[in-house]
Symmetry: C2
Subunit: 339 residues, 2 copies
DNA sequence: TTGTAAGCGTTATCAT
DNA sequence: ATGATAACGCTTACAA
């Protein structure tokens, strides 16, 4: 181990700790020669300024937290990619927190982070649309927060969302245009921000087309593949939808599986469109029509906004809302007459 | 902000800082009443012990680093899932470092972590099999390291790998059994641990079957989808393989795309098997035969090993190698007569 | 059971 | 350009 600290290094060099410290910072009140000597010796002895001591002293960590509901999800993996990429270029590191869709954990994470562990946080919420009282005094947390995707509307922080309502509306209209009359909407939590918004787009598109809204076609699913397979199969058997709009990717996969096992043909027997940022949607059988969210971009944007705030001396309490565009990628799974 | 520290809290309660400190640790040399009073007040004032001060004092961080070559990769996402899950249950957090396949960055990360930032590291290497001199004195880094998947053979730390050689051998044999005689091997870096081992399995299976090894069928690819498409298309045009073994998932996707655009039928014209932990391989068109690595399990195992080391008072310098089994999931993409 | 005080390894301020 | 010293906020002997 032989951990070497600034004192021993200073001693070896017959120099003071302050000078050593200076050598590592880009200040110019140090003799270039001296700096060179110090850095060389440091490399030789493998000295690294202690991160915790520095942070304690400087009151910042060059670290940002990413709080997300789950990790087993292509969408959030891509979010992390985006955040990581931007953070890295600014010399920041990322710390990952997964709430497992539990708002208690979310709150605990947020609270525990008030200890200065990170300089800021980007988060996709786990709670329901209105359930965020713990964030009432966001300033008191002592760090900037950026919300993305699953947001709490009333919290006064910058937010990044996609145009979920429109996307959902258009995807539904697209299914209708392709002959669907009984479209099911699959959702994990219809009370939560995105599940709710997407449902509204679906509902309004049906209304606009004078198609009755059937409660039984709005299906609450879970986070378990097995359970969802059962739920979806049952729903199909009982309600015979001719179209399906999946509010998250995973539900489309389950539907594909169910259709395979029920020997239902997509899109002949049932058409499908799904919110998804899957890159290989076109390789599926059949190619899946997706509402493609720019997940990586969302991550990048969230990180950029956060870094901006961190760079800003006295950041105003903005709560701007940034809307990124999703793209409806029409593929065979939703097309009439593509067979 | 109004950050409150242990002193002010102590003052408010008319009590000493040590007592406050004790209230937060599970020690019993404190009056339960006092503790209760303290914790209540702390909650009220939203006091959180400063993480960096604690860490500095205790010389540990309850944080582990995950160093991986890339994030835009289903395999590594699953690794992170596994690590995160295990870490969380032990109260650890994870810090992510992405090297972009650059061994310089890997070395810098490792070096910088010697500053006590994390208690331990799990890593999948970015360098080539022999290129790890910087790890010669692993003890001097001052933290335990676990290597997984892309390992450096000679480094004396615990390693977790899958039975790549056998998997590759069997997958190749499987392609041969299904009538392939000109099997191409797609690899990103054939000098690197896994690319190399997997190639060996491929080569030996060919030899065993007295099929000549053709250099031109061993194809170096890159990390770019676009470039790979070009490379693979060119290779197919020139060398007319009737089978393909992809050493990483991404190369199989590119092959699917190329086949689509070249109007080649899988598996009729060309059969494919790939190393991949993709969960929806069976939904592809056609379903993709995979050598399915237990990515999440690998992550879990790596984390468990690390935590064991961390719990151990004086960990012996073990360098055990754990081999997890991959599973050959035979699907249509590699089958003769499944059409 | 509680308090006092030293120290974890830095960096910033002030002197020199 | 360099050095001495006092924080940063916490934990833990040791003392009471």
């Amino acid at each position: 181990m032989a951990k070497i600290d600034i004192h021993t290094l200073a001693e070896v060099l017959n120099i003071s700790t302050s000078t050593v410290s200076r050598a590592f910072r880009n200040t110019n009140d140090i003799n270039p020669e001296t700096r060179k000597r110090i850095l060389e010796k440091a490399a030789e002895l493998n000295y690294q300024p202690n991160h915790y001591a520095s942070n304690l002293r400087e009151q910042k960590s060059k670290t940002i937290a990413v709080i997300i509901p789950e990790l087993a999800n292509n969408y959030f993996s891509q979010i992390i990619q985006g955040v990581e990429k931007v953070a890295k270029t600014a010399g920041y590191h990322i710390l990952i927190f997964v709430t497992d869709d539990d708002i208690q954990k979310e709150r605990e994470f947020m609270r525990s982070l008030s200890n200065g562990r990170v300089d800021g946080v980007v988060m996709s919420a786990s709670g329901e649309a209105t359930d965020h009282s713990y964030l009432n005094n966001i300033e008191s947390f002592g760090f900037p927060l950026i919300l993305f995707d699953r947001i709490y509307e009333e919290v006064g922080v910058p937010k990044i969302i996609t145009d979920d309502y429109n996307s959902s509306y258009h995807a539904t209209q697209h299914l209708i245009d392709n002959g669907c009359e009984r479209i099911a909407y699959l959702v994990v939590n219809k009370e939560q921000s995105i599940g709710k918004t997407r449902m509204q787009g679906y509902v309004d598109a049906l209304k606009k087309n004078r198609i009755p809204i059937r409660k039984r076609l709005i299906v609450d699913c879970t986070n378990s593949y097995e359970e969802n397979a059962v739920i979806i199969e049952h729903m199909i058997e009982v309600n015979h939808p001719d179209g399906i709009l999946a509010s998250v990717e995973r539900l489309a996969f389950s539907t594909y599986q169910v259709c395979q096992s029920m020997k239902l043909q997509i899109p002949q027997d049932i058409k499908i469109a799904a919110f998804s940022s899957l890159e290989i949607a076109s390789l599926l059988n059949p190619p899946l029509t997706t509402i493609k969210q720019p997940a990586i971009k969302i991550g990048e944007k969230a990180a950029s906004l956060l870094l901006e705030k961190l760079a800003d001396e006295n950041p105003k309490q903005t709560h701007q809302e940034f809307v990124l565009e999703s793209e409806l990628m029409i593929r065979d799974s939703s097309l009439k007459g593509s067979y």
